[in-house]
Symmetry: C2
Subunit: 214 residues, 2 copies
DNA sequence: TAGGAAAAGTGAGTATACTCACGATTTATT
DNA sequence: AATAAATCGTGAGTATACTCACTTTTCCTA
């Protein structure tokens, strides 16, 4: 008897999706409540009602599992940006800073655990790491995203040619802002916002003066 | 009978020093040969001829142990700088870049394992980390060191007032260069050196144009 | 529909960073 | 010197991320 219902995806795939979602749901709840280090893989699997080994069929390491959420945010950040018509017309610096601002907004519910893995999330991946970063492609997607924005601005004559270096530098700046944000204890993270604003002005002034000459 | 020899330091302190040195020696050898993750704390203690528990009386975590070497280098980097009369007269940018250049030179023998911990070494420490970073003071020492250089240049009218932010930014740039250096597979790390040079020129041009206006 | 191949799930087992209660050693006190 | 107190060393024990040989489930073909 073939399974009832609409048989668009096979049972195998459906089950896999279900398990995957169960893991992610359980993990997010536990990470958010007890932090990355306070959550054991055993607890996650129990909550997801699977064997502990199964978890590792889906995510090579616990860190990869946590990284997933960070990458999710990076992805949806790009989607958000594409949907913001207003930003398409704004000057480059404003666009770039809106990206970071929005990103911080989105990850703020998870502040307590994101710190444990964010460093690996934006860092250009190194051969040294024995940690299995399945996120290579996410890095590239983010990099190309930023690179695309810079390219546009370059051809529009808005900024001088900054090449890959520009995108790379922005990624590091992004990282730096998250670092600052994580430590910021001011109400409403106003210090971080102030710093972002300041940097916006600096960057604007810098580029207006002609930037660097390669 | 009081112990023979000159009794300047007590026996306790002498033994402690000896043990500490034994641990560091064993750890450095193993880390350099087998990397951070390929070296077990058990192997380190065996090589240092101590019990495994003793190791943790001296270093709270394995990561702290590795971090020690990185901090050592940061310390001796400062000493090296103080002893370089030539640099005292050089323009600020040249001084700052000499610092990074020299640092990379010094850590190059340990490239294979330093990558595992360097991120934590220069990163401003966060409350989030459950890792016991005894290195707080090292961060501060390094920060004050850079801040001092910037202060000099500011009072000399060489650069505009950049405040703590300048020192912080330089720290992040330093971090970025190490990241790049770790991934650089070109012979003699020439790509990293080229990038350093390029950044030197950019920074020089930037500051010459008046920098930013706070 | 039967049987077998492929995929997914399982949980006892392994490796290892780190702890802790206790014993050994050094120092301080009389 | 005898004893007490402080410090240091010890290694069996613990917690937990991750593995793997095996079982169960799903899919495919005749």
């Amino acid at each position: 008897m073939t399974a009832g219902s609409k048989s668009k995806p096979g049972k195998r795939i459906r089950n896999k999706e279900k398990t995957r979602r169960a893991i992610l749901k359980a993990a997010l709840e536990l990470f958010a409540r007890q932090g990355f280090f306070g959550t054991t893989t055993k607890a996650i699997s129990r909550k997801a009602r699977i064997a502990e080994g199964t978890l590792f069929n889906y995510f090579k390491t616990k860190e990869d599992l946590a990284l997933y959420f960070f990458e999710q945010e990076l992805e949806s950040l790009q989607e958000w940006f594409e949907s913001e018509a207003r930003l398409k017309k704004a000057p480059l610096t404003e666009r770039l800073f809106a990206i970071i601002h929005h990103h911080l907004d989105r990850i703020s519910p998870y502040e307590d655990f994101i710190g444990a893995v964010y460093l690996r999330a934006l860092q250009p991946s190194s051969k040294l790491s024995p940690l299995s970063l399945s996120s290579q492609e996410h890095h590239w997607k983010y990099f190309r995203f930023i690179r695309g924005l810079l390219d546009e601005a370059e051809t529009a004559g808005e900024i001088p040619n900054v090449g890959d270096f520009g995108a790379y530098a922005f990624g590091l700046f992004h990282l730096a802002m998250i670092t600052y944000w994580l430590q910021d204890r001011s109400p409403g993270k106003e210090q971080t916002l102030a710093l972002l604003d300041r940097c916006l002005k600096i960057a604007t002034g810098f580029l207006r003066k002609g930037g660097w000459d390669w």
